[in-house]
């Protein structure tokens, strides 16, 4: 069911310094209204393959832990696992990251943030679901506020099973993801653009107080 907009997003009349009143409609004036489009790769296949190889070799993960799985990510930076040597590193801002790891259960509230973060990443971008919670809700299968299927809400390229999967499993998963990317099969961003309405309807079905533009550039 639709709830009314947050006050700061509602239309408001504003008086300019010259005394003229005019209307400000935040969602129109403050946010870009364009929708995502399908992005084709380079014209020559070889170039695209080359790019895909590079993308595979430099996975920049958005430092955003959504659930208990976040704990399993940290060891990857430590001497014991040292993911850096596989070209994996963490970026603090979605603009520069191209891999979003949903690490564990995702409450509706966090889902909203995850969607924003995902949409603010630049394509091509990849999503990895971590642990059974992201696959089918796991032990939260009957929870009132955690989603059960991540791929209803954003295109997932790869799931890593387990509750929780160990860092080794993560590394293995990332290696598989690399294969997918190199094979050019990781086109989540375009899939998201194609089935945009479907994803949005799913998202809006669980996020009752939708308080952002449809696509967060």
């Amino acid at each position: 069911m639709e709830q009314e907009l947050k006050p700061e997003l509602q239309k408001r009349m504003v008086k300019g310094p010259d005394g003229v009143e005019f209307e400000v409609e935040p969602l129109r004036d403050y946010y870009c209204e364009a929708l995502p489009t399908v992005q084709h790769g380079a014209y020559f296949k070889i170039v695209e393959d080359f790019f895909n190889w590079a993308r595979a070799q430099s996975l920049w993960i958005l430092g955003f832990g959504t659930g208990c799985g976040a704990i399993e990510m940290r060891p990857l930076m430590t001497p014991r696992f040292d993911a850096y040597r596989y070209g994996i590193q963490w970026r603090p801002t979605p603009r520069q990251a191209n891999l979003l790891v949903i690490s564990g259960y995702l409450s509706v509230k966090t889902l909203k943030r995850a969607i924003r973060a995902y949409e603010q990443m630049q394509s091509p971008k990849y999503v990895v679901g971590l642990g059974s919670c992201t696959i089918n809700g796991g032990m939260y299968w009957d929870s009132y506020n955690t989603i059960k299927r991540l791929d209803d809400y954003m295109p997932v390229d790869l799931y890593i099973v387990g509750c929780m999967p160990r860092p080794e499993a993560l590394l293995a998963g990332f290696e598989d993801l690399k294969k997918l990317i190199r094979a050019g099969k990781a086109e989540g961003a375009n899939q998201y653009a194609e089935k945009f309405d479907w994803y949005k309807s799913n998202q809006k079905r669980v996020i009752h107080d939708w308080d952002m533009p449809d696509y967060n550039w």
């Binding site: 870009c32 992005q39 084709h40 790769g41 380079a42 080359f50 790019f51 590079a54 993308r55 070799q57 430099s58 920049w60 430092g63 430590t78 001497p79 040292d82 850096y84 040597r85 070209g87 590193q89 970026r91 603090p92 801002t93 603009r95 520069q96 191209n98 630049q122 394509s123 091509p124 961003a189 550039w217």
Partner: protein, 301 residues
Amino acid sequence: MSFDWMKIPYALLTVFIVFNYGLLLGAFIQKIGARAGRRYGIPVWQNYVDLIKNYGQRTSITHGVMFYLGPVFRLTGGIGLLLFVPTIYGSYMFSNLSFAGDLILALYFVFFGTLGMALGAGESGHPHAAIGITRGLSQVSVAELPFALAVFAVALQYQTLSVTDIVAAQQGGVLNWTLFTNPLAVAAAMLAFLGSMMRPPFDVVIAPQEIPIGPPTEYHSAYLALMQTNRAIFPVAKMVIYMNLFFGGATSWPEFAVKVFLLYLFSAFVGVCFPRFRVEQSIRWFLIWAVPLGVQAILWV
């Protein structure tokens, strides 16, 4: 010294060499940092891959004209800085475009990129960018002071502002280096050097944990690629200046490579050993430890 067309391909060659060297050097230093942390560290070619990846990104956004131009300013600053100082002493090929100006030009051109970058990041409208910039400017305003004093001292010492002449004055034996003829100035300058390398303990500007990641928060794809290119060129260009002023310059590429590497290593070494300063702490630190050295230097020259 004057211009002729042949200088252009030579300059491009310098840029190419320094660019590659910078990328590899950066990776090496990161590896060393990793080893200090008992890690294996990134592969040496990682920077190339990241660069290609970022150029290969399919989408990008822009917040406006200045945002778009920011990285261009930045990289222009880096390349310009590199080209305004002779890289290899005594080589016509690698004297670059230093006919355009002397040391002062180089010193002030450093700010060209900084300013443009600051403006670009500013237009992104992200508060973290602005905060990062205020931190950066506040810090650099004091970090530059000992360096300026050192440069003043060196210029007084050799009675010239031309980089070439300064290097020439240091030829003929290690003991002729400014490092030994004017140790105070060098000490002051090296402390300033730490402040200008954006590494701990003076990297509060881009502190990823609190203001992700400062000015470049909004930058991505090709913008970021340009800035990475600058990250490869700019430090080397800066270290070339230091090398020329204080460490006898370089007469050949290998010597250049070694000296720059050692300089870079110095900042990396301090970086892995010390935690991060807050802005006001680093300002006080520079005023208390570095500036007096610089003052001594200009008084005793």
